[in-house]
Amino acid sequence: MSRKRAKEILRQVDDMWRGDSSHTIFTMQVKTAHYTRSMRLEGWSKGKEKTLVRILVPLKEKGTATLKSRNSIYTYLPKTDRTIRLTSGMMMGSWMGSHFTNDDLVKESRMEDDYDPTISFEGQRNNQNIIEFTLIPKADAAVVWGKVVVTVLANGYLPIIQHYYDEDMNIARTMTFSNNKLLGGRLLPSVMRVVPADKPNEYTELVYEKLELDTKLGDAFFSLARLKRM
């Protein structure tokens, strides 16, 4: 019973940002020991298989675009006018200098597909009514995490925080959600911040400026030809 309910809630959390398709404008702020960088990006998605993101600002990288189509990632480089398909060796590399890996983009999937969820806590925490799920990867799921702990508000199921653990069950990174506001007609967290556990002074923060859902984009939009033409 609790498992079924857990799955039901997670499905709603998964669907929150995505809808059938989406169009979003967001900024990404990256802080590391060596650099701080700020970018403004525009992204489109359709289902969970197709994502297209391009850089609007800074000018130097404007037009650089990433296309995720099923399990492949292509990068278009306007400076050289070339499209490159990333090899498996590059998957654990950083995506656009952030704390996300290219693999995060490919593996971005519905939690309910890859994990077996259980409700591990329900009740008051920090003056909020919350539900905490513990997600254990399914035996055949190709995920890099040992477990993921997801905490959502009991009312409306808005995510608050997610803890990612590596295969040795040590905490690897923390993703926090904040600044809930109306986006695409829904109340959603507009700020998402990732902090790697081994470098607590570094972070990548995504701030959603605009989100449109169910924009009725065709599959042709997510093609290599389109990647170049933008």
């Binding site: 990256v30 590391t32 020991a33 060596h34 650099y35 960088r37 800074p58 130097k60 990288e61 650089t64 990068t75 480089l77 400076k79 050289t80 070339r82 490159i84 398909r85 990333l86 090899t87 060796g89 590059m90 590399g93 950083s94 656009m96 200098g97």
Partner: protein
């Protein structure tokens, strides 16, 4: 008693046996000279490839760079340090390294980007002379790059083709640019062959947004007879605060293989010669036993045991000297031929590597005095040892028993 003339007469008495024994020894000697020259050739090439292609005698890195190479672990005052090393009488060059993805057409491969200071690099290594196809880097052609041979095959490029590089620059931005393959290297080392992507230093700095500093300084002694350890200590004193290591510390496996090579040759010689010793022992025992009555009579006529021992030894030595001449002439000329021409291994192995150091598929022998002298000296020693028993046998013959001896 004229031992030598008697011995030479005895040797030709059973000339077939003498011929077989001598040829066996000569052949073994020939093989060992050839083997020693080939080993020497392999060692010289691998030492040369390791040190003068890439490593240099001594290298300086920022602490921790070798364990976890990242763009930010740099030698900050690299230019000053190179200047100081040059003043102190060393050849030195700074290098900058980074990682990226190289793509040509629809193929791509991870590469190690290597920014090379052209003026200084030629004083330290000879890599610029090891271009297989095309040309080495040139300051006038900042977009021209030189790549490893396996990498060229993976990407399917030849000189003149375009390659795109993407990577992450020091400011987090996406480094990317288009380059033209200018040259493809011969085999240098496993990592250079597979992932080496050489570019002009200032082109690298522009791509990776790295205005200052270097990841590695390679140092070479002017005078190669100078002790490596004292040179390392002198470099370390100049490069305080950084990690200084010589090539033996950087590549301990190769250093050890080179150290053990002489011992290895001698072990091979001993194994081969034990077989030869059996043949000599057998032949000389036979020749003593079939002459037992003759030797008995000689003894009865007053020949001393010592003289009989000398006789057997003289017979053996005549054969060893002949065998040595055969071994020397054939071994030296064959080894010398392969020193000039090399053995082409490309048919059986497309690329060979040796402790991480790549080898040319053409294996050249290298004839040194040791490679000729040691096999011959050992031939004498082993022959002399093998004939101890037959010689004693001849020496202790009792005339009366010997005369009644029946074969």
């Amino acid at each position: 008693m004229k031992i030598l003339s008697m011995a030479s007469r005895n040797v030709v008495r059973n000339w077939r046996r003498t011929l077989v024994t001598t040829l066996a020894m000569g052949f073994a000697g020939f093989i060992m000279i050839f083997f020693a020259a080939l080993t020497e050739g392999l060692l010289q090439t691998s030492e040369r490839n390791a040190v003068s292609m890439n490593l240099g005698d001594v290298q300086i890195h920022a602490k921790g760079y070798r364990d976890d190479p990242d763009l930010y672990k740099r030698i900050d005052n690299a230019v000053d340090l190179v200047g100081k090393l040059q003043q102190a009488g060393f050849h030195a060059t700074q290098r900058v390294y980074g990682f990226g993805l190289a793509a040509a057409g629809s193929t791509s491969a991870g590469v190690q980007l290597r920014g090379v200071n052209l003026t200084n690099e030629v004083t330290v290594t000879q890599i610029h002379q090891h271009v297989m196809q095309g040309d080495w880097l040139a300051d006038t052609d900042p977009k021209g790059v030189v790549i490893g041979r396996k990498l060229a095959r993976t990407l399917g490029v030849t000189p003149g083709n375009e390659v795109v590089i993407i990577g992450q620059a020091t400011d987090g931005s996406m480094a990317n640019d288009l380059y033209t393959v200018r040259g493809i290297l011969k085999s240098i080392s496993d990592d250079v062959d597979r992932a080496g992507f050489f570019m002009v230093e200032h082109a690298f700095r522009e791509l990776m947004v790295l205005p200052q500093g270097a990841h590695e300084i390679a140092v070479m002694r002017h005078d190669h007879s100078r002790d490596l350890d004292s040179a390392t200590a002198q470099v370390a004193a100049l490069a305080r605060g950084y990690e200084t290591m010589n090539w033996r510390q950087l590549r301990p496996v190769i250093a050890r293989i080179l150290d053990l090579a002489d011992a290895q040759t001698i072990i091979m010689i001993l194994i081969t010669y034990v077989a030869v010793a059996m043949i000599v022992l057998n032949a000389m025992l036979m020749s003593v036993f079939e002459r037992i009555r003759e030797l008995g009579i000689m003894k009865a006529l007053g020949v001393t045991p010592w003289q009989l021992t000398l006789l057997v030894y003289a017979e053996t030595m005549i054969q060893i000297v002949t065998a040595s001449i055969i071994a020397f002439i054939s071994g030296w000329s064959v080894a010398h031929y392969y020193q000039e021409n090399g053995i082409d291994l490309s048919a059986i192995a497309s690329s060979t590597s040796f402790g991480g150091v790549a080898m040319d598929p053409i294996w050249h022998a290298h004839v040194t005095t040791e490679s000729v002298v040691i096999p011959i000296v050992f031939l004498f020693l082993i022959g002399a040892a093998a004939v101890i028993y037959p010689a004693i046998k001849a020496a202790i013959i009792q005339p009366v028993k010997a005369i009644h001896y029946h074969l």
